[in-house]
Amino acid sequence: MSTRLASGGRLLNKGKAVEFTFNGKRLQGYEGDTLASALLANDQMMVGRSFKYHRPRGIVASGAEEPNALFNMGEGSKFEPNQRATTTELFHGLTCASQNHWPSLEFDVGVVNNYAARFLPAGFYYKTFMAPRAAWKHVFEPIVRQSAGLGKAPKDRDADRYEHFYAFFDVVVVGGGIAGLIAAKAAGASGAKVLLMEQTAHWGGRTPVDGGEIDGVAVEDFIASLVNELKAMGNVTMRNRMMGAGVYDHGYVLGYERVADHTPNAVGPRHRMWRIRASQIVTATGAIERPLSFAGNDVPGVMLAAAVRDYVMDYGVSIGDRTVVVTNNDDAYRTAIALKNSGLEVPVILDARASGGGALADEARALGIRVENGKGIAKVKGGKRVTGVAICAQAGEGSTLEEIKCDAVAMSGGWSPVVHLWSHCGGKLIWDDAQAHFRPDASCAPTNQNGEGFVVPAGTANGPLGLNAVLADAVKAGESAAKAAGFTPKSVAAPQGVASDEAAMEPVWLMPQGAGPKLRMKAWLDYQNDVKVSDVRLAAQEGYESVEHTKRYTTLGMATDQGKLSNINGLATLAGQLNAPIPAVGTTTFRPPYHPVSFGAIAGEARAETFQPVRDTPISGWHSENNAFFEPVGHWRRPYCFPRNGESHAEAVKREINQTRNSLGMLDASTLGKLVVSGPDAGKFLDMLYTNMMSTLKVGKCRYGLMCSENGFLIDDGVVARIDEETFLCHTTTGGAERIHGWMEEWLQTEWWDWKVYVANVTEQYAQVAVVGPNARKVLEKLGGMDVSKEALAFMEWKDGKLGDFDARAYRISFSGELSYEIAVPASQGRAFWDALLEAGAEFDVMPYGTEALHVMRAEKGFIMIGDETDGTVIPQDLNMQWAISKKKEDYLGKRAQERSFMASADRWKLVGLETLDGAVIPDGAYIPAAGENANGQRNVQGRITSTYYSPTMDRGIAMALVHRGPDRMGEVLDIPTLDGTVLKAKIVDQVFYDKDGEKQNV
């Protein structure tokens, strides 16, 4: 069993016990524990079931590479699935539960998959679900859905807060182990601004676990004084609990800071995503130990050798009383020695190398440990826990030579540098035969905007595994990063450790090397996704020669650990089967993030109120207070209608329209775009932008205009007012203000840069209120001030003056067909002006109306709406707006496009009005079919509805539609099928339904 030892545990505060809950059991650990070490201290070796076969799985590693120990963490609004026990710091009250089992971890029904493993080989899904077709929906999909996924999805809204932080550095060092600390010091000494980040809570990485001396002092003391030195450097920033998640173009680095995962009740953000620009990036990300592929290497109790050592040294936890060590390199001997020195038994060290180990092997033997060279594990005994191992010759096929009882196995297949961050942005790798691993190829670094490398690997992440080589490499990396960032490094001698004489490792990709099919079927490569040696071999046999294809076919390396343990073993197995050298097979692509990051950290502050900007007019407050039902228009929120006393929206819209047509309505039109265009060439400029002539507009007058893209399509419309000889004010649609402003600037900056015109967007300078209805003039006269009579301010004129106390500009324009004024006042007077109008209008029973009433009233008048009657394929001629297209102008944007044959063709769909014979309202978006079918067997279509409403004024349905040769077919009755299968009959009519002669607006 695994347990807490009486002594040891350099990271623990044994004075402070911490209580936590696992699967409903109350357990205890110490401050400084990870969740993994605390579970092991409580003999909780088995932590979950595997994804596909539901095999019992235990903790394998001690860091970010852990594939098995994933938990549903927390409850309610703090719930989060797939949290890794090895990277979770223990805190008081932590609650977690294991995943992927039913009904319980100990007894799991899904384990039948394990007994059926023969029938679930690689590519099972692809092969099985091809046929029969109907089986997918009724048989396979329900089963797959039941068994898919590891953790549960959260149900509640996340209670925590997240944020981003932008930072700028000359050199960013990722990894706070010995190499990162030394590289940061070397870079910092040059004066460069340095950030050093470390994903755990501790500095120094794994070096203290292995002990020894550097520069004549104990490693732990050396690191402590190095950390203090760095802290004292004003140009060096140190952040722990912060992981380098990804490296991107132009020296962009994401730093994932877990601010409060270990203090979940603290006030403040939980995670902070640092968005960093760095001139140079040093990746001191260390190395990860590889498992060995032998039968039963997934039984709980089989662990990476270095992890066994970490748990003993860092947390005072033993994995078992009797631990068999199996290795192909010298490093694992350190585990055996550490266990022995802690008073634990190591029955045997199985060294797969026929020639055995170096000095460390001698040390182990001197401690009385039995060492067997050229031997390996044929098979691990036990189901939910290791009970023993069968020993065999590595060179053979797995005949058992001897069985040894044990309750833990520490395995080491060699070390692979963590090259993820190096590779994210295109750094290439080379295969190191001596160490049997891929390491960064210094001649093919990721390159920046100048074609120069911007990532420098340091320490074990760069390949060297011996302490002295690591120290020297880290100094060199720090200095070269500083130099590349434009600083002059101060040459510092690398610190010196005590070197140990290690024998060369030997690659072992299968144990024993001649293992037959039965053993291969139980030799796991990828624990989390249940991929075995046999699966990769099968994939190769079936022709999946590319490593990327094999990955997808077998799911090797596709789980939340992204193959940190399985990649190299998997591709070596593939290479073996293909009879190709490993570098020829290559690796899969390394993609950010290095380790999963929370969605909250990605979203940052963008949630709740700050999810998206919502734009308010100066009058928005009144709308909210008066029960407005809002609709989004761009980022604006505009009132759709103002329901009163339990009215439906339709009833409210009808009331607002009737009151406006009969007496007085008002609309908050502040969102309309307002662009000032000014300069000696302003008229010439607007003549190019609008289809009609604007340069002839008289000062004090208004003119409606259309704007087209250079392809001839209608993109915006609005009223232009001439303010003075050189100045125009152009109204745009609500959604068009920024777009049209950009459109104008683009032409002025790129094509007509020599024209003397300036443009400014003054949309928000004004609150604008449409005062509409037969009593509009009376209410303005009540406010007093400027003369708004027909004589003083005629239709399509504007005037500046005072209305009551307010600085007003009044435009006599109408989008409703009624007598109408649009009054602009400075935004800060907007709310007061609105209130004053409401008060003055009370005697006319004034009613504010929303965008739906606006839409219906304009449709009754046959006015087009950009976005309804236009969709980016409609030209003004389609809308019968030839009257707004100047024939005198030599050119305007869109003119030539509109002259192309198919644009000028009489065969286009053109705008008409439609009246249903029975007065019904045609559904929005309906199509108007024609006889026959097209080449795809679809019904031919001769038109579509662009706007359709119930008109309170007409008391019937009205619509506008684009219909093939529509205006030539007045009076024709069309069939319009609806979704419920009925067919509406509608007559083609003039699009102007109300007051065609404009008598009402022109009073």
Binding site: E163, F165, F168, G268
Partner: protein, 188 residues
Amino acid sequence: MSNLVSALNHAKSAGFASVEETGLQGMITVRGDLASKAMAAAVKAATGAAVPATRKIEKGDTGAVAWMSPDELLVITSYEGVDSAIEAMKASLQGEHSMVVNVSDARAVFKVSGSAEDVMAKLAPVDFSTEAFQPGEFRRSRLAQVAAAMWKNDDGSFELVCFRSTAQYVFDLLSVSAANGGEVRHLS
């Protein structure tokens, strides 16, 4: 006049830094040839300050002037002083191709005091470190999802300008970024 209300009417919040909407401010968009003598005279007449260099803000007796683009300045005055400033500038720029537009009501102004850099750096992709961003620096950038322009005062506080319609969003952004527990202790 009681009719005048700024976007958030002096809303305030406080965490590890404090945030305040500072009320109505006179603001004028000026476009023209920034190198011309007429422009120098116009800016001087309105604010008492010189035309700022790229990405700088200059302060004078009666206002300030900020560099917005190679042909655009933002003149900042008292709200009451806008009309006379516009008049003075138009007079100086007589005959020059230029534009002078009152945008006071189109904007909202905020002040962030205390550990302001750490608040600003959560929202704008700008290097706010003391060596990079000193009083007198001016940036047009963004705060999360909206446009903003910002500068640092001599007392270390920051002021920023955004569009009036986005004032509530910007206030909420600044407030949550300055909320207690969110101290980064990196820049301030």
